[in-house]
Symmetry: C2
């Protein structure tokens, strides 16, 4: 019997689009064999004709108009690789309106409009697959939806931004400054020309929203995600962290607490023996804690054309199977629950603090009082080098409510002998 | 509309069976909500009545006869947690004959008879799900079947046996001997009373067969898996390995080479900076290299009632969905290809070697000749302590064909000044 054929339409022929086409050329017949469906590239659209032509595809399957993909009745599955909110959002809606399943790598869109789009798809008995939107090729979405379905996830901690992880790795291994490491990252293609979304933590926050929605089955309110970037972290902090047994990572943390969900992105000191500590360079990893499963971690390349293409085509394969077996509903996501959120000021954390102080009698007493007044107890106080009668003080607190810590911190910084521009980094609990 | 109900039959009420029942009680309604199917425990059978009674289930759903589960027309999915080959195999066949999907955690059976059983299931448009057979709760089977479907996997390297990983971790961290570490493992429940299947590598070999069949889409001939256990590894070797930048792990390695598949289980020196090096204690991890995806790793608890129960119930949820949406074929495994196998003698490896020698002139020259004659070049030679005019020599070879190495090794051991009982451990390439 002839295999059923599923036709793919591709929107966007940039780096990842090129990877998808290359991978389909290389492994398409094996994939078709495994899923018992012929996968055929039906049409590719890109506004940029020269980019399309560079793909050396037959003339009749390329177009500069997205509508030629979206309204082609032969196309069964649309892959959206345009990125950003618009026109990607409208295109996905149009694909669904035209009865097509959607595969997307669009993190911004799935973070901000994921629920709306998933609900629209569900109403039409179609699916949106978005494995490639977080963690490149690392299987995350499907394991969260299926493999961990029987457990209650209490916490997820992710290194989900390769740029910042590369920067911290180089800072730690080669004593580079943040600026030097960033410029290396740009040279190697691990950072974009404008890296602000990575450096400021917004990229990680989008990914955290997508993962948390699935892990906790909750609607995520973007305004409830605390986001702090990496620009205040110095190579000196990273060196001191190592001395006391930690490395520094930009973490995306989602936690289910009795009072609600706590979602935050910030740099953190990670104990060297924690599995996330050995995630180096541009690699990503997501560490998940569940009631029953204990700890699991997923590790791999969080970006790159070919790794991301494996996730896109795995999604296409699943869409094709759901067409072949007429069971789109079997993997659709149910509606998400409203959740309460715990603001960061109400969380407990441990803090690393570093600052310079005049090396004068009474400074330590003033420090001790400032922390003592707010019931902040210290786990570790180290007085480092003395230069020109200036002492460098590194301290680590025990667990303390953010609010109380910040009150104490303010008092500390108002002690006349203490110099401005301290470093403050949380610890992974 | 009332939800469709799927009834579960459970064979075996031991540790994992108890975990499955506990997890179903705890999270069953949430799982049912997510998959839009009511999951109901229909019947539990165990030969041991007292074990059954300890579960405090209603009288009418317990039985000491498996046939009461297998032939109950109301049961849709049978969970097999008996373990071992028989009677588990016959029971699974009977479940399939009676039109029931099967979920199993049975590693021995899926390694030895997996193809036969999967093919039988396929013929009946039923499925066998076996996520729990490897790596406890770590998602592995489903990611290999679905998430990595678009890639060509070239190598997988697994720490798939928690007992031996716990033993090596304690040997490394606390300078325990293998015997001491094993006895600690038994005390903590990480080793069975008879640990020979773990220690001798057979447990890891079964898991390697299951993973390799999926990763490479090939029939696996058990006779083609090279298996070497951990009993020859000493705490001294582990200490020396660390000095030169390695840790020792029992690895299960599957490789797709131009000449065929190479499958082997043996202890290996793993570079400290490799992600597998930081997998400690009873944890498992599977590191996979694909053409397109690069490297991915899955990490977590490889055993234990509750982690394993999450995998079993995720499989049950998938079976229930395939019933609800009538699409069992969508996830069934296609037939496996015959493969060629590369025997270990034809592989290239690097070797660590440690032995004692009389501290006499000419020993090094004899050594150099023995290796030189077989074109084995050395990366590192260290002469360690001298006791009573005995020198301890540690050396590491460059990449060399196993056959050539073993010829050289034999020559080395025949040098009169060299004492018997050397240590020989491969390096992870």
């Amino acid at each position: 019997m002839d295999k059923e054929t599923v036709k793919i339409g591709l929107l966007g022929s940039g780096t990842i689009g090129g990877g998808v086409i290359a991978l389909l050329n290389r492994n398409g017949s094996e994939i078709s064999e495994k899923i018992d469906v012929n996968l055929v590239l039906g049409k590719v659209a890109d506004r940029d004709l020269s980019r399309l032509q560079a793909l050396r595809l037959p003339e009749e399957i390329i177009s500069t108009k997205a509508v030629d993909v979206l309204e082609d009745p032969e196309i069964d599955v649309v892959i959206e690789l345009i990125g950003g909110i618009e026109p990607a959002r409208s295109m996905i809606i149009s694909a669904l309106d035209n009865g097509k399943h959607v595969v997307t790598a669009n993190k911004d869109l799935m973070a901000a409009y994921g629920e709306e789009l998933l609900s629209l798809a569900r109403d039409k008995n179609l699916n949106i697959y978005y494995e490639a939107s977080v963690g490149g090729g690392i299987p995350l979405i499907r394991p969260l939806k299926q493999s961990l379905i029987a457990d209650r996830i209490c916490r997820l901690v992710g290194i989900v931004n390769g740029t910042t992880n590369y920067i911290f790795t180089r800072m730690a291994q080669d004593n580079l400054s943040l600026e030097e490491a960033l410029s290396e990252a740009k040279k190697l293609g691990f950072a974009e020309a404008d890296p602000s979304s990575d450096i400021e933590g917004r990229d990680a926050a989008y990914k955290l929203m997508i993962l948390s929605r699935l892990a906790f089955g909750s609607s995520i309110d973007p305004g409830q995600v605390y986001v702090e970037g990496i620009s205040a972290v110095t190579d000196q902090d990273i060196a001191y962290a190592r001395e006391i047994g930690f490395t520094v990572k930009l973490l995306a943390i989602g936690e289910k607490m009795p009072e609600g969900l706590a979602l935050r992105v910030h740099p953190a000191l990670v104990p060297l023996e924690h599995p996330l500590a050995s995630v180096l360079n541009e690699f990503n990893a997501i560490y998940i804690e569940g009631d029953a499963i204990g700890e699991v971690m997923f590790y791999g390349r969080g970006a790159g054309a070919m790794p991301t293409a494996t996730a896109v085509l795995a999604d296409v394969a699943e869409a094709a199977r759901s067409i072949r077996y007429n069971c789109a509903g079997a993997v659709s996501e149910k509606s998400f629950q409203k959740a309460s959120f715990v603001p960061i000021k109400d969380l407990n954390n441990r803090f690393y603090l570093r600052f310079l102080a005049d090396d004068r009698p009474g400074v330590f007493a003033a420090l001790a009082n400032a922390f003592g007044d707010e019931q902040v107890s210290l786990d570790m106080v180290i007085q480092k080098r003395r230069v020109d009668s200036t002492a460098e003080i590194v301290l680590v607190t025990h667990d303390v409510r953010e609010e109380a810590f910040h009150r104490a911190f303010k008092k500390v910084m108002s002690i006349p002998s203490i110099k401005p521009n301290p470093s403050m980094i949380r610890l992974l609990g």
